[in-house]
Symmetry: C2
Subunit: 303 residues, 2 copies
Amino acid sequence: MVDIVAVGSVALDTIRTPFGYVERTLGGSACYFSAAASILGARVGIVGKVGNDFPKEHLDFLRSKNTDLSGLEISEGDTFVWKGEYGKDWNQAVTKETHLGVFADFHPRLPDAYLDASLVFLGNIHPQLQLEVLDQIRTLEFVACDSMNYWIQTELETLKKVLKRVNCLLINEGEVKLLTGANNIFEGGYEILSMGPDVLVIKRGEYGAVLLTREHTFLSSAYPVLKVVDPTGAGDSFAGGFMGYLSVSNEIDFEALKRAVVAGTIIAGFTVEAFSLDRLKNLSNREFEVRYDKYLEIVCISR
Amino acid sequence: MVDIVAVGSVALDTIRTPFGYVERTLGGSACYFSAAASILGARVGIVGKVGNDFPKEHLDFLRSKNTDLSGLEISEGDTFVWKGEYGKDWNQAVTKETHLGVFADFHPRLPDAYLDASLVFLGNIHPQLQLEVLDQIRTLEFVACDSMNYWIQTELETLKKVLKRVNCLLINEGEVKLLTGANNIFEGGYEILSMGPDVLVIKRGEYGAVLLTREHTFLSSAYPVLKVVDPTGAGDSFAGGFMGYLSVSNEIDFEALKRAVVAGTIIAGFTVEAFSLDRLKNLSNREFEVRYDKYLEIVCISR
């Protein structure tokens, strides 16, 4: 049994930042997501596809993070490769190269062990593939999805079908403006809530995140990170911390969603302190808890 | 007696935003500051200079906001005029015209009634003039100053003298980076604290503010404003709410500073909902309190 099904990329990343350079390191939304969720105690079942060049050590690492890989297809060919660079402006990676490899003809197929998972995370893939996942799952307690500029611009109608069927959308503020045409993220946010999701999480990078439902708002500042080494995977780690927190909560009410956003913020703050998934590798739940408490101290005021 | 001495510009603004156009309306850092501080119950003494073209109605308005104008020099000539425009990107005003008028040879002269004020706000003027104010005041319990890119680039040594003599600096995040060369605002923030001030407030516009001392950190999200009509004066209103709160506090400890930052955030949120000082004109302390409580609800988590 898995707690959360996560569909997304499993990739080999080559990254340059002002603090260094790494080659063909573990990357991809599903990997960041599952490693992050595991810190919260959740067992994630990955749905994805890699080539037969994918290093065994990465599979071993993911398994060590309590990840179920029975939904990870390994096929003849190359693994998805991404090469990117960050300059002084951390907010935007400059993509130098993308090779989809075997991911180009990926179609999600969920193993039996995943079909009763109550939580689903649809990573940032073609909205048609996101729909294919929703068609397979039997129990849908809480489905969250990610998307991006590219799909908003090229697959808007399909994306809107997805939005009608998910409980929660996690996107960044630029995407809120692109999706709605609104210049104000709150105005745009309410418009997105009218498209289907009950919960919207707007990611604002180093500034934090906004949690919006029709009735409630929660503003979360990002945890102050003194040295950002590599921002890759921050958004997917956020999603992993968020969903991981919800998977161990008794119920998904607004109070739980708030805490889940903070959990996502904290985990994303850890991720960016090192290259790739390095910081998550030995991160303990205890370290997470310490920072979570510290966080509440630096954002809250006693009445 | 005044509670706070505020030195800064008193101006006539002509502003165009996507929501309209206003001509020769009341503006200037000292005006936004004192109107904002008055909402918190503080009496501000303005130090500034206008021409004899300055409309009497604006003087009456400032007096109605419990402002002492005995430090406002009125001399033969034109009042400081600023013409600016905002496009879709609210973060940066495009200055179309600036006429310093009589403000060009402004030298702050503090009337006797101001000399024992315990709080001082040095608005964004030449750092040499900021020093002249500090030389006149007898009691300096808490001095906060503002500055800007221009002074950092052209008057750095003088600005550093000011920093050695103030308790608190309020600047925006771009200025933190410019002043220190740091790419990370926390890293840059600690460097600024080593230059003199015990308290640093980093303004992040629509994202909120960071309060930093050597021992403590507080992150404040901005109050969610659904419709920003005119962002002019947001920073000075923030400063007015911040200092106004401190002036009515029993002591200035970190807890009071946190609440003062929130007060600044709330007042700035009101200011940008209308052109010029229009929203502050009839804003009651009760409205402020309601939003303050609402704010704590949307940023805090109970343990």
